[in-house]
Subunit: 342 residues, 2 copies
Amino acid sequence: MNKKSATIYDISNKLNVSVATVSRALNDHPRISEATKELVRKTAKEMNYKQNNLAKALKSGETKNVGIIVPYINTNFFSSVIRGIEEELSPLGYHVIICQSHEDVNIEKRQLNTLLNAQVDGIFMSVSKTTTDISHIQSIIDTSNTPVIFFDRKKDISGISTVTIDDYRGGYMATEHLIKEGYKNICHFAGDLNLEIYQNRLNGYKQALADHHLPVKEDNVIFTGSSIEEGTEAIKKLWSKKSVPDAIFSSSDFAALGACQELKKRNIKIPQEVAIIGFSNEPFTQFMELPISSVDQTPVLMGKMSGQVFLESVKENGSGVSIEKKVVLTPQLYIRKSSKRK
Amino acid sequence: MNKKSATIYDISNKLNVSVATVSRALNDHPRISEATKELVRKTAKEMNYKQNNLAKALKSGETKNVGIIVPYINTNFFSSVIRGIEEELSPLGYHVIICQSHEDVNIEKRQLNTLLNAQVDGIFMSVSKTTTDISHIQSIIDTSNTPVIFFDRKKDISGISTVTIDDYRGGYMATEHLIKEGYKNICHFAGDLNLEIYQNRLNGYKQALADHHLPVKEDNVIFTGSSIEEGTEAIKKLWSKKSVPDAIFSSSDFAALGACQELKKRNIKIPQEVAIIGFSNEPFTQFMELPISSVDQTPVLMGKMSGQVFLESVKENGSGVSIEKKVVLTPQLYIRKSSKRK
DNA sequence: TTGTAAGCGTTATCAT
DNA sequence: ATGATAACGCTTACAA
């Protein structure tokens, strides 16, 4: 059995018509008689003909593939964004290629090149924590027509569209919620300020305090990563001081979880003595015996919007113009037991 | 600025050498002088030459893309398997294309065709719950050389390699653990028996009971899906009967969680009155205030092994032979508070 | 060591 | 309505 699939030449030979006719018939070209169309389609099916997309792509320049670069794929947030992109683009015949940067700017750089090399029609990315120099991304804009779309973790590069949530507002909402519940000495677990998202959450936190005439103490801002351990460490550090906070707004759900665990160990009651609210609305936050309040980033929607922005820029590319889009989604506050005193 | 990227013809023109020489120089062909190689490489860089992989793929028949079909991407298990595959294959220049079947055999069928159409070098898949008829998969084997690898949720098709965990053993281990902790009336939340994995877990459960001379009661097997709600429903059903179980082995962590919540509502103490153990070792199981025991499926390893099996079959394809591989991984028991009475 | 030219499977531009 | 042929960008057997 020969597993090499049939080409339009094979059909052309069998039917004694030219390849051009076969190609046109298969593409439902208007100036081909219905009779030959029918005949070609029939024999194509008989011969188990499969169109070679590679050849088509080589001609058209479109691969119908898009690339996505994320730090890691197996977190709820990123896999949900990917799901959104896939669901938006798949019905239009696009395929989604996934790459992980492992939070390493050098890998990110390599993945970017390899995607470009794979001739993708567009690239979606969330930059790594170690991405400070952005020349590798800038150069894509300068040297290729491949549209790049940042989602969530963006950098300011002219010509690149972005889809983000309003992290400032998320920080503001979370903090204001704590204030309204009567907490007065609210501290913040801040993330890596190299990323705008963490800067914005921090700024939202500060502004909410200021707007409600509460002092903004630099001592109340603890820099932590996104791990459980760093959450417990932060509590140890805070509780070694003279004055302890009565609420925590953490920019990471995992750090919030670590804080919960450490507070429990110290027999400190949540939310009576200390309130906690996290960020990302990771699935586990709602499953806990003491469910943790959190700010949802609507990741699937973020993916879908990113897909739409890409489609628009593909359309524009044809018409010569290219407009930079900035989509900002509204975060959703999920208030649970960990921050409800009233 | 012209963003159309340079080809080997452009280099060939500029240097007054043939395209063949350029191609060979770029591919480090042994019979090209070091001088010209150097020259070609230099000007290639200057002209910002990027190899067109499409053209290369059209010639070679290899796209260096592989496809993955999973029910959903945004669960810990599947995204972790994907991560494993990506990490194994990415260093060899492969790209990973993701598709979701949404547990629908018709979508699965379409995705399969579209991947084949995209000329992927291999396909990894975990079949959907609704996949009973497998002719669409069988036909790939018959009509193409594209290797297919099943992971986790497999079907018995000759010629297809599989990477799974020993679900039978997983079920046996979990049940035996409960028995050794002194539980005697153990029930099982079984999944959709259309999938082998759930059949095997059920069989492992039954055998463990039999081996320890405990009665296997059909009443103690409740069929549930993988949701929290179905877990709570199962408890309601069980506790409406005259005799209630003192332990639950759930084939799903989510159903186990639902059970925990419902038992707690009824003031039934875990693990004193009832023990619970789940399956999959979802992240949330360890974060809970009452951590749930579970059986880990080593998903990242499963992905890596799948990648290796694929690489082997690519190698074999060249040599004409094709050996069907069956990799079976050992599940890991994670014993936590929810099932420790002693 | 380097050049010529065919071929991978399509689509599109001319003709007819 | 259909055919001949060039082109997409690359690799490679055959020549020189």
